[in-house]
Symmetry: D3
Subunit: 244 residues, 6 copies
């Protein structure tokens, strides 16, 4: 089984670290391939960048010519997934939903620790739309930008642990979700610092869920919301096919 | 006051009819300018096309060099608005939310009549995210595609009236929202056929609301969700600036 | 266009200040007329007074003999509006709903700053019933009574700013609604003190929305909830017609 | 223990039938006194009449000079209760909430059968505000006006049974609430016709709950929402004290 | 009328104190009988013990051979009630739901003060399932275990008062529910210490509601959720009939 | 990895068919062991039986002396899971939640097809408590009892397909969940008859999710809701250890 993991931003070092987590999380026999869009923002920290990235991700998928059995979209709470579900026949997993779903298997309620405070309403809305907000005790930001996460790992771990502790102690979270693809490598250190509170990384969860769905021979329902796009003229598309 | 009305698809005749409705709906002294993206789908009937359109609309805004006082986004339930709210300093109105809000001023609950059945969950999700679903009695599709609406206006009016009647009689809707920018000219005929049930066109509502917000000297809050995009590298952007 | 603005209490100085805000908020060509009930409480700070006021407001409308094109009801979260919607053919706007709706056009979520703490559940219930609570981050009281607002404007501004800041910083509000008709003149000072957070005054919003609805030729749906009252005996009514 | 039962309309025959049900439902040792407002509508079938009635009911209470231990308000889903809760020190029960609460003791979900279809949204809103809508499977109207209920009892029973059956069979209601004070005498016949589905009459439920609360020495909380009205000038009040 | 009150744990002293409260709360003419399961945990402080208790309670009911007119189940938020509703023809009241329902008759919103923090999500879920969470301002734990409540009554009162005050002042509760059968005797002292905030004991409320339902000739609906168990083989049941 | 699959009833043929599905669904290298309680009902079709089964299942776990890495509980919407989560250190998956979660990965909304109509509210409540009801379009019963499913497989497939079609066409379900452990073998035939609508079997989903959680080194959070039971006297427990 081959799973394509899509980093929604253009920062190759993030693609590499997401790939590493995906590989470390996959079952034996699963091949991970990872890529990023050919254009778009270097990190996604708001709606504007999220929408650009969504189109750039779809553009990447429209021109990707290797086969794969499932897609994992590695933006946490970012738009675009439903478009990929329409475009592709293989299952599409999203790391925000996968993290929340796995957390709900492990505890009564979960908290999300993310980057900037401005991402909090966006993540909550995404979970609301996905029907997964009911068991969310809190979404809290660390104040660190996406690209700052890798710059000083010690500071990042400290900030994530501090905010996660608040989610556990004040908000009643029983499980913590790491709310950014760029936090993927921190799971064990954060969990240890929290005294054994389970910590879920969305990339890991999504890879395992992709294997589960593919393993059972299932894929996206095409009967309504995610039916294939209707045939029509789309000017200037794919963008990546233009001379540039 | 100048209001920019953005048709999210590339079909110029739809831009023209949306402009006509906007002009007919605006107060004296309001200037309407209308445009469409430079690339993207000719109509939007699903998430894939919606996400392409969102980026194409943002691309259009990024390269639009005339001043305007407010933006009306004329896609019903389609993504992209929050990106424009970050990007711009002027207020941004969306026709789905505006239609729902005006309907809630007129009756206890409202119904939406849209194009294809596949759009129904997407519109419901959009209203849910906007916090406007509570008074929505129904979202129902006519089965007509976006570009079919103009092809046979008689059939379109008949279909809209039939589905709207179901929303009123079975679902308890007290006001009907026309759930597609392409239905904008049908308001009076549908309302007459429904025996005086108020019918709200989102373009008209959004234009008036844009005037209201601008008139009171208000604009988008920049304190959290819609703060300006952070400075960062965005490769290959704007798309429309590339040689093509 | 003539808009009737109804102060729900009998304090003429509040009618005057509400009229002033309404006039300052209206478009050119809109005439504002303002009045108050002929009997009832001098201020409304609870359900008992709210219900008396509702009947007194309807009594005022039943005997009001000048024409008007829309009604703005200037009690924040107070009962009575649905009765006026049944009684009248012209549109009826309510300042609590209008403030919330305009706030939702400007930011992801909003907070309401009101007078006494006891009004908080009442306002929340009103927004719940209106289907507008989903995006409400907080309703908070300043502890000042309605008639205290005018007594010491400096203290009032200070209290409103302090409570509004809490709503922004602790609750995540991105827009502030002034939750009492008596706060109508404070908008600019509060917004400046909050560093540019948009501040919405419900009277201003409702006047603009009334213009919008009238301008589009729309009015209250009469098909169900707000059908005209059925013909029947109503003893001792209108109250204001009795010798007193 | 003496319970005051307040018919919200001025039709004395309805007061009499409500008193009869209350007496038949009360425990031994409970005295029922019943009255109606001194002015206002002869029946309540909408918001306008509901608001008039709310003030007329409060007016009646303000001038009622006999002692009582609890108040039962016999309008189904009509406004005014919170005002009485502020005004009085004794507990105040409402027949819509009491019917719903007793129904929830008896089955998983309940349906309400009421008079005109236009009352349906009003009742739903009342249950929503009371926090009791979650287990409501349906609110359905019979199409009969309040004063028609008594005019032809056979027709009334037939209509109630037919609509109640729909609530049971289509909507999954397991208990039926009679949604109008004027239906109070029909309980046994409707239940028998429904094959033993429990049928709750709100007057009966409210009388028993009033006894329960009084028997335990409890009354309305005065710490916030229902604190006594603040001292203030209320012009022309009580209305019933005026010469007329 | 005879009401059976079932303490869900096997601690006879708790049965005795629950019986005492039930007797003190009942109307003249109501006979209280109280019992506990023949096996199972000595106190219930989590789901595991709750599920054991549920079966042990049903086992007790299956072998109980005295007649009774209603059952009061004295576990706060613990499972099992729906099983008893299927098994019995007489009405079944639960102290958590009864406390919440009586609290909703007395104030706008209520708080629950319970034992251990781990019980909080369980109680919230129970109220959610019962459709009674909407008016719940807070569920808070004192940190005291069930059997600790009786060990040091002074400490218990102090802890309950402190936590209840937080629910009133921080969360806006207007009524307090004692969230454990073992707190049943504390009502008056807690209410006095809270300055008159009404305090509801679930055993007392349930006894009164049982009287109410029986008094009106009503019982559990058998049309769907609580139809009698279908005839079938149940091995090793009742457990208490086995030689042990 | 060894997964214990627990059939909640005592019918060995159902254990066998559930084991078969689990084995067919597991990854290579996963060992499935299956068992059933030592006492309790032969099938579960209501709350009474569900609560007996919950205790019998916990009893079985308390005396089960082989090691396992995860538990799959094969009752659809039946109680008991939280007790096992407290009792065990290994992860515990439930087939109702797993089916719903996998369905949400595949489509916008899902429907559940179950056995008797009386199970419908129970399943809905379970999904509500789990925070998974938001995307549930419908729960519908076939009218077939649990043990009838195996008696006439042709009839069963026909009934499931008919009811599933209603969920797709009338309710908008995009994915179907088989709502009973006894339907586990029908997946492919039902999906084919529905024209490719994905059909999720909860046993299969839960086995895969158990592998996923174990594979990532995660287990139940012990910080609050599912902390181990406190040490205490539990009389007559385990039941299966008694001489019988």
């Amino acid at each position: 089984m081959r799973i394509l993991v899509l980093n929604p931003n253009t920062t190759a070092s993030m693609t590499a670290s997401i790939r590493a987590i995906a590989e470390a999380s996959a079952s034996p026999g699963t091949e991970i391939v990872a890529t990023e869009p050919l254009w778009g923002p270097e990190s996604i920290e708001g709606h504007f960048e999220g929408y650009l990235s969504a189109a750039a991700v779809l553009d990447r998928l429209a021109t990707y010519d290797e086969p794969f059995d499932a897609l994992v979209m590695a933006g946490f709470g970012e738009p675009g997934r439903e478009g990929a579900q329409e475009l592709l026949d293989v299952p599409v997993l999203d790391i925000a939903e996968s993290a929340a779903q796995m957390a709900m298997m492990l505890g009564h309620s979960y908290g999300v620790v993310t980057t900037l405070d401005r991402a909090v309403p966006q993540i909550r809305d995404r979970l609301l739309t996905a029907g997964l907000l009911g068991r969310c005790a809190a979404v809290r930001g660390t104040g660190l930008g996406v690209l700052e996460l890798e710059a000083d790992p010690e500071r990042t771990v400290g900030a994530v642990v501090r905010i996660a502790s608040e989610a556990v102690e004040r908000d009643g979270a029983e499980v913590i979700c790491l709310g950014c693809g760029g936090m993927a490598g921190l799971r064990d250190r954060v969990s240890a610092a929290l005294g054994g509170v389970p910590v879920v990384d969305g990339v890991a969860a999504a890879v395992r869920f992709a294997e589960s769905v593919v393993g059972l021979g299932l894929s996206t329902s095409k009967v309504r919301s995610f039916a294939p796009p209707r045939p029509k003229a789309i000017g200037g598309w794919p963008v990546s096919a233009r001379p540039s």
